[in-house]
């Protein structure tokens, strides 16, 4: 009996803490999602969409990675990616390599790259939220900045 109560309490605690409304985001831990890149604010939407497409292709061409979520706001591009399990030993090296090559290929924009799963999760969530019309640019930008802040946090 005690065990059952305990289980129920734990389940309630877990579901109670849940703040994810989307369905796709929680699943991104277990499966490859290949989310479409999003644009928040841009002066040339068409050009940027093309740019993002090409960046996504470039990133996913890396054999050490297997999934990438990209979002662009003004001149900042956030690239979150998942590293293949056995390549996780070289995580720092991969990050440096990716950032350097992206900066070389696309010199006009600022890149923020992260292999952190939390960043990936948040980017996917941002993608999904942007699909709804109530989620305006201001909100999106705020969330984007939050993610960038989160990425800078170290401890």
């Amino acid at each position: 009996m005690k065990k059952i109560i305990g289980m129920v309490l734990i389940i309630m605690l877990i579901t109670g803490c849940s703040k994810h409304e989307s369905e796709e985001a929680p699943l991104s831990l277990v499966k490859v999602t290949h989310p479409t890149p999003s644009l928040i604010q841009s002066d040339h939407r068409d050009d940027d969409a093309e740019l993002l497409q090409s960046i996504e292709k470039d990133v996913e061409d890396y054999k050490e990675l297997y999934d990438a979520a990209i979002v662009k706001n003004k001149d900042q591009i956030l690239v979150a990616y998942k590293v293949k399990h056995l390549q996780r030993f070289h995580m720092k090296k991969i990050e440096k390599k990716l950032k350097d090559s992206l900066e070389k290929d696309y010199p006009d924009v600022e890149f923020i790259v992260s292999s952190d799963f939390k960043i990936f999760l948040e980017v996917v969530e941002l993608h999904e939220k942007m699909k709804s019309p109530e989620f305006d640019v201001k909100k999106a930008e705020k969330k984007f900045n939050n993610i960038v802040e989160l990425q800078k946090e170290l401890t």
Partner: protein, 157 residues
Amino acid sequence: MSGQNKKTPDQEKYQQLEQKHETKRPVLKNCIRAFWVGGLFCVVGQALTYFYIYFFNFTEQTASNPTVATMIFIAMLLTGFGVYDRIGQFAGAGSAVPVTGFGNAVISAAIEHRTEGFVLGVGSNMFKLAGSVLLFGVFSAFIIALIKTILVYMGVI
């Protein structure tokens, strides 16, 4: 410090005889047990990490702090309820090496010396097992950092 290097023939002979009767540590069995129990601890830890990533604002980098705290908290409960020493007897290194083993070493000493009061009992004996881990952990970290700094300075790395 007598007799640890020079053994008399009698001692030598007896020790050989005694060895014959001594129950050997089941090393392979201990290794297997340590592997899977230790692995189980890590699975719990990993699950907690994902829990903190999903439901709270922690990244993979930052989620390790609350995870360690939670694991130590669980170890504290298990120690207090007298379960951890049984796990330890079963799993050996499997339960001693993860951070929970460190927590157990501190907490068991704290519980043990509670009867001697808070200052002279708990306070002074809490780290009697874990204290050397802290000391030599910090010391070796310092040495390694020193070596790395020198190597970087010399341009090797």
